[in-house]
Amino acid sequence: MLSKKSSLLLLGPGLLFILIGFCLPALMLLLAPPGISSGQVFARLGRMLQDPYDLTIIGRTMGLGLLVTVLCLALGFPIALLLARSTSRWSGMLLALAIFPLLLSNVVRTYGWLVLLGQNGVIGQVISAMGLPAPQLLYTESAIVLGLLQLFLPLAIVSCYSAVAQVDAGLDDAARGLGASRTRVLWTVTLPLSLPGVIVAATLVFAGSTTAYTTPYLLGGSNQRMLATQLFNYSTVSIDWSAASAVAMIMTVLVFAVSAVSAAVGKKGRIS
């Protein structure tokens, strides 16, 4: 154990840095951006929450975020489960393959969808080779969902994997031995026991996909604006700082609310 004095010495510089270099600027942006009063920010926020166009963007951001979260869990949990329960010598390789994209640049990963979905892209070529009219694939909500799914699936797998790996495989065997079907074991034993990790995964994916910039920028273009691309536009193109602060406020509140809810749910799950 460290003395009070030495832990203060160890924490002090870091606290100072975080407070001055991070917390203070972020609070100023949300409540009092340069040359603008907080009254103006809240007035802008109020107008934004009544404007149909802005509401569409908020709705799209939350809706796509939710869809991506559900898809990430639907694909990520099976991968985590199969990898955690596999005895094959390939499972280590496959786990590494699932983690690897976390190290790879978002721009590189998202660019792949431009190659696939673009005007002369692979999918468009295949569709027109079949004699069908080539549909608009890029700059659609589906393109954004695919891009975000690719981006956040590794994160979902890693969180689910560490949760599933902690569940004793003997419990699965016991339930099977007592006559439960595989599906029943999954829904009544494995999934409930790994729920805390699944909740963490859902939170990370939702928070990430509602604030991601690169993907909606490259795959959604100006047709399918999301809160992040809107914030960027207000802050660098139209330089409307009260609108930028209002969007920043919506994004921050959204992310904090989801984290708080997930923390509360996680705590409740642990007690019961």
């Binding site: 600027p25 694909l75 990520g76 699932a98 976390l102 721009v107 190659v115 690169t214 920028y217």
Partner: protein, 292 residues
């Protein structure tokens, strides 16, 4: 002990012909068609787009087209001799190294204090150190732009360094903290009990315990900073650009396969990086700490 060993009848006990024979339990890792299909879809979504980027990079044509007209390495040559990319590559590397070092200097002592002491409000302090993980990066970028660049007239690089360091501190605190949590604090007590001075305890006991955590945090911080877009996008200047941001700018301007070639080079570098990470500390250590 698995159910198979539980169900095996004790040795020597005569088998009762009337008793139903123990049900043979199939291992849980057998064929699972639905889960398997979902897993294959998942892997395809993660991997297939990257494979097509690589394929596009070797194209001989002037636009992204499939199948490519011809095979060539010309876009690799073009990317490697494109000045903005190479300048941005150096800038990104410098920024990532400096931000990683700063984040470790701040984060490792903080992790140590958070793991090895108790005080009132510790939860709050911990939350404060992890808060850059939660606040959206674009929000941090705009906040630093307003206060540092527009407000104080700070240089682009300084503002970027502050932003990236703040972003990386949670990783440093969490990953080193996780490895420290696994280490037995009584080892340090024992060293102290045997007469080692606090500094000696730190250098010869605590630091070696921390080493895998520090290496993991450093690797993770470096890639996180190197790949960051939102912060760099809002804080970039006319003279200073990071590689991902200059690639985004290029995508906006042109539809030719040079970005595919540059992406393939980054992919190759990332694979080398991943091998080094796996050999030195292992993926599990690096990413295990994040979800603790």
């Amino acid at each position: 002990m698995t159910i198979r060993t539980v169900l095996r009848l004790p040795a020597g006990q005569p088998e009762n012909p009337k008793m139903t024979p123990p049900r043979t339990v199939q291992p849980t890792t057998g064929r699972r068609p639905v889960l398997g299909a979902l897993a294959i879809i998942g892997y395809m979504v993660m991997i297939v787009p990257i494979l097509f980027v690589v394929a596009a990079a070797f194209s001989g044509g002037d636009s992204l087209q499939f199948p490519p007209e011809s095979f060539s390495l010309k876009w690799f040559a073009a990317a490697a001799s494109y000045k903005p990319f190479m300048t941005a590559l150096v800038s990104s590397a410098q920024l990532a190294v400096l931000a990683t070092v700063l984040a470790l200097i701040i984060g490792v002592p903080a992790a140590l204090a958070l793991q090895r002491s108790t005080f009132a409000g510790k939860g709050w302090v911990q939350g404060l150190f992890l808060s850059p993980l939660i606040v959206p990066e674009l929000v941090v970028g705009l906040a630093l732009y307003q206060q540092l660049i527009a407000g104080l007239g700070t240089a682009t690089f300084t503002a970027l360094l502050v932003g990236h360091t703040a972003l990386l501190i949670p990783y440093a605190v969490r990953v080193t903290g996780a490895s420290l949590a696994l280490a037995d604090p009584f080892v340090e007590e024992a060293a102290r009990g045997l007469g080692a001075r606090p500094f000696k305890v730190f250098t010869s006991v605590t630091l070696p315990l921390l080493r895998p955590g520090i290496v993991s945090a450093a690797l993770l911080s470096f890639v996180t900073s190197f790949n960051n877009v939102p912060l760099s996008l809002l804080l970039q200047g006319r003279t200073f650009n990071t590689l991902p941001v200059s690639m985004l700018d290029y995508v906006q301007k042109s539809y030719d396969p040079m970005i595919a070639a540059m992406s393939t080079l980054i992919l190759a570098a990332t694979i080398v990086f991943a091998f080094i990470a796996e050999r030195t500390v292992g993926f599990a250590t690096i990413f295990g700490g994040i979800n603790k």
